[in-house]
């Protein structure tokens, strides 16, 4: 259940560490974001810029107070699968993406929910070390 003011961990190498949700996209006004939903976020805490980082990751680095889009990949609130099983993670986490839906980072550091594959976030799923 991600809504206005929810703090989420960022699990890619875009430079952000903690972001705050400011808008849940494509939902009703009293609804919340689940795994696979797109949200708009503000970067609340970012890793300090290092000069030695180069390549694609360097171009897409975000700073504190940046506004970007993100995809929710884990939720603390339990969610149900079509087969009746219920999944729950220990934290809320997201991956930053650009407006066309490609991830900003080049690496994802921890597990993501299996639902993303069915929702065709194939890039996120293939970057992730494991799905659960």
């Amino acid at each position: 259940m991600i809504y206005l003011k929810t703090l989420l961990n960022v699990i890619d190498n875009s430079g952000a560490q903690v972001v705050e949700c400011i808008k849940v996209l494509r939902h009703g006004p009293r609804n919340f974001a689940k795994v696979g939903d797109e949200i708009t976020v503000v970067v609340k805490k970012a890793r300090p810029l290092q000069a030695e980082i180069t390549g694609q990751a360097a171009n897409n680095r975000v700073k504190r107070r940046d506004i970007c889009r993100a995809i929710v990949v884990r939720t603390k609130s339990p969610f149900r699968r079509p087969d009746g099983s219920v999944v729950r993670f220990d934290d809320n986490a997201c991956v930053l993406v650009n407006k066309s839906g490609d991830p900003l980072g080049t690496r994802i550091s921890s597990v993501v929910a299996k639902e993303l594959r069915d929702l065709e976030f194939n890039k996120i799923v293939s970057l992730a070390p494991k799905t659960f």
Binding site: D83, R88, K130, F132
Partner: protein
Amino acid sequence: MCNVLTIYIDTPTVFEPLPKKRNGENALSYLQKELLQRYDPTGKRRALVDSKTGLRAGDVIKVTYLDRTDVVGRVLGIKRGQNNVGTNILIRNKINRIGSEIRIPLFSPKLRNIEVLYKPEEYLSRGKQYYIRNTKLDVDDVEAYVKRQQHKLEKANVSKK
């Protein structure tokens, strides 16, 4: 004419009582038995959640699905359904240091197998161990833990010989 009527009233037709349905068994428990028989013909899964001999919170299990994917985790609790087939097992694991839990319906036709990987020698005292989350009792990476324990066992066996 009046006489005939009175005779009719005095001897009402009494029928034999109908035979009891299901030998007098409660419809709900009968239905549960039927459903269990349908979803678990071998009785293997029912044996797994038997309250005396089956799984217990603290065991490590591996659940394999029909599409050959699997989930490993330590059992936090077993919810046993009464008069239904909603029995489920809650397992917890840490993957990349992120705690992940899944509640798996036991009689789901999507499951291929449930395998017990490890049974600890000493259990915690509760049947439902929700309280271990984010404490020092919490699960570690379960697969690594099982490997470590098996290694220990092997070592102990070698030294005994």
